[in-house]
Each structure stands twice: as structure tokens, then as C-alpha cells.
Subunit: 210 residues, 2 copies
């Protein structure tokens, strides 16, 4: 057995991949998706720009679509490629977890500048971290350094008005209902500028392995 075959096998095993070419279930999968959405071949044709006939042939594994065709498919149907390759059903990630947090019932973490209330903290393995924050700080000086953490953050002002200081931009005034999305490894800090303490809702991405 040639050396590179060994390596090939090693790589395959390492990547947890099946040793031979799959029978290309792509057709079945496409049909499944199509039917699940109550689409006709004509509908899909409209969306993707591929001819009805072509789609029929793909579904019946009579042709192997060109990669551009596959692209049109995933674009037009608004699905992701992994989704298209996912073995028909069965995959069943669907654990159907959920975690309810009633108003004010989160986990409170007071600090001099902020008062955080962690939401949905029953759930351990989640990809986002939502929390409500009462912004106590009234001046940027109250922060000894930038707040900074890996990932991205989304934030909406629920009540009051705040000033958002960021490392690379001019301060930004945000009123109730305004929202912002930013890379949270860029230094940032919030300050209330309204009469009362402002309240904001934040959601951070979890700093998992990229």
C-alpha cells in the first residue's frame, strides 16, 4: 500500500469522515426540502433560476449538478450547504431545550458602575449570553479601564438614555429603542445620561473555539 494512501486514511479518520464517496443523497434531500415547504418544481425554478427539468433530474439523481448550480440552489432556497448535505432527517439535534426568565427574576450581579441581571442562566451550554443591565455610572471617569471581552455584543436601550464610549470611535448617544452591534474585544463602556439610571438589554456571543 503506497504511503500516501495511509496518510489519506489517517486524514480521513482524523476528520471523522466516511471512507468512500457517499451515494450522493443530495437529490432526496432537495426533494425533501422542496416538499417540506410546499414548493413545486416551478417555484424552485423561479427562486433559483434553474430549469424545471434540471431540478427534476437533480432530484432523481440523474445528473450531478455543477457547483454553480448548487450555489444557485442554496442561494435561492435560503438554506445552508450543510443543511443541504445533512442526511435526510434523523440528524435530530433538536433537543428542544428552553429556559424562561420572568421579569426581574434573573441572577443579579451588582457592581459600582453596572448592575447586571443574567437571564436564562439555567441553561449551561448556550451560544449567547443575554443579560439586562442597569447603568449606574454617570461619567466615563468611573471606569478604571475599558470593558473588553472576546466575541461580539448586541445591545438595546430599554429605558433611559446612555452614552456608549468605545475605543476606536467617538462616544455615541443612544436613546430608548436604539440598538447597536459591535466587536466586544474593542474596549467599551456605558454611562447613563438620563434622569434615572438607564436600562439596557445585552446579548454577547460566547467565546467558544472559533
Amino acid at each position: 500500500m503506497p504511503a500516501n494512501t495511509d496518510q489519506q486514511a489517517a486524514l480521513r479518520i482524523a476528520s471523522g469522515r466516511k471512507p468512500f464517496v457517499e451515494p450522493l443523497r443530495l437529490g432526496e434531500r432537495l426533494k425533501e426540502i422542496r416538499l417540506a415547504n410546499h414548493w413545486t418544481l416551478e417555484d424552485v425554478s423561479q427562486r433559483t433560476g434553474l430549469a424545471r427539468s434540471t431540478l427534476s433530474k437533480i432530484e432523481n439523481n440523474q445528473i450531478s449538478p455543477t457547483f454553480t448550480a448548487v450555489q444557485k440552489l442554496i442561494n435561492g432556497l435560503g438554506i445552508d450547504l450543510p443543511q443541504l448535505l445533512t442526511p435526510p432527517r434523523v440528524q435530530a439535534r433538536t433537543m428542544g431545550r428552553r429556559d424562561l426568565t420572568r421579569q426581574g427574576e434573573g441572577q443579579h450581579h451588582p457592581t459600582p458602575t453596572y448592575e447586571h441581571e443574567l437571564l436564562s442562566c439555567e441553561l449551561a451550554q448556550k451560544r449567547m449570553i443575554p443579560f439586562k443591565t442597569i447603568v449606574r455610572a454617570r461619567s466615563f471617569d468611573e471606569f478604571s479601564e475599558w470593558v473588553r471581552h472576546d466575541g461580539e455584543e448586541f445591545l438595546m436601550v430599554l429605558t433611559g438614555e446612555i452614552q456608549l464610549y468605545t475605543e476606536f470611535y467617538e462616544p455615541l448617544q443612544l436613546a430608548q429603542g436604539d440598538s447597536i452591534y459591535f466587536d466586544s474585544d474593542m474596549g467599551h463602556a456605558l454611562v447613563s445620561v438620563s434622569e434615572e439610571d438607564a436600562v439596557v438589554l445585552s446579548v454577547c456571543t460566547r467565546g467558544d473555539a472559533a
Copy 2:
């Protein structure tokens, strides 16, 4: 058009996907991988069973490989498809991006049951998709099927009161300020139960390559 198709479309738009077929950077990517492993076209040919000439043309974007060809490729090279599609390593971290959305200034996507307002849609590559939704539906019957999409979702009621139907649980009543986190591939649907249409803020994880 079924309700869940709308949301699917909304998510597609939100995820910053370009509306047309990309110029297929697959060639560059393949070459990159090949060179990184010090493989010659002949080597890759051995491993994949594709002709040298074919590989050359793929690398130079002169042809769009058949899907079977792509399969041979990922099998022979022991790589994953997402890996092959990943844009050639550009995403340097800490870019300090940000995207402000003023109250009501998001991208509106009305549907019979929901009226979505996509927030922060200037930013293309982000890991979360935030949007505000006015819940029009008054009865569960208005949904032709479950709304369902990969990933996880966090949701907080901003105004009004809603009932959250989920595939595996009893319906749940959520008042202003209440929030919930759940696996969004579990079927779900929202219904207003207050006088006015309820408004909720949602954040979905991006269904990226698993």
C-alpha cells in the same frame, strides 16, 4: 407562501448573504490548500482521481466542478466542505466594527403573522442576528407550520403580552420584561394576547457551518 418561508427569507437577508451567486472563490481556496500541503497537481490527482488538467482548470476558475468532483475532492484531500468554502483566511479579529440602528430604522419585512425589523443589518459577518418583531398573529391557527431554523434564539417581550407555542412544551404566557432562551430548531410560534400587537426583541445565532 408559508409563514416559515418568510422568516427563512428574513434570516437569509439578515445573515448578509449576497443575493446572487458568488464568483466562486473555490479555486483559490483549493490552490491554497494544495500548496499548504506541498502537493503537486499530480499528487492531488492521485488522491482524488481527478485529472491534472481538471484540477488546474478548477484552480483557475475555468470550470465549475461537478458536485461529484467536489465530493472526490473533499474525500481525497480529507477536508471538510465548509473548509473548502471558507474564504481564504482573511478575517483578522479585533476589527472593532460597529453598527448602530436607531429606533425604527431597521430593515422592515412584513408578513401576515409577524412584522420583522432587522437590526444591525449593515454588518455582514456577524454571529448573532437581532431583530424586533411586531406580533400580528392572534391565533395559533394562522401559522401553516412551525417556524423552525437552526441554532438558538433568545427573546424578550418589550411591550404587550404573548403566548409562545413550542413543539415540545405547553404554551407559555410571556408578559413585558419576560424573556426566554430556546433551541430554535424546535418548532415555535408567537401569538399576541394583549390588546395591542405585542413587540418582542429576538436574537438568533447564525446558522453557520456546523
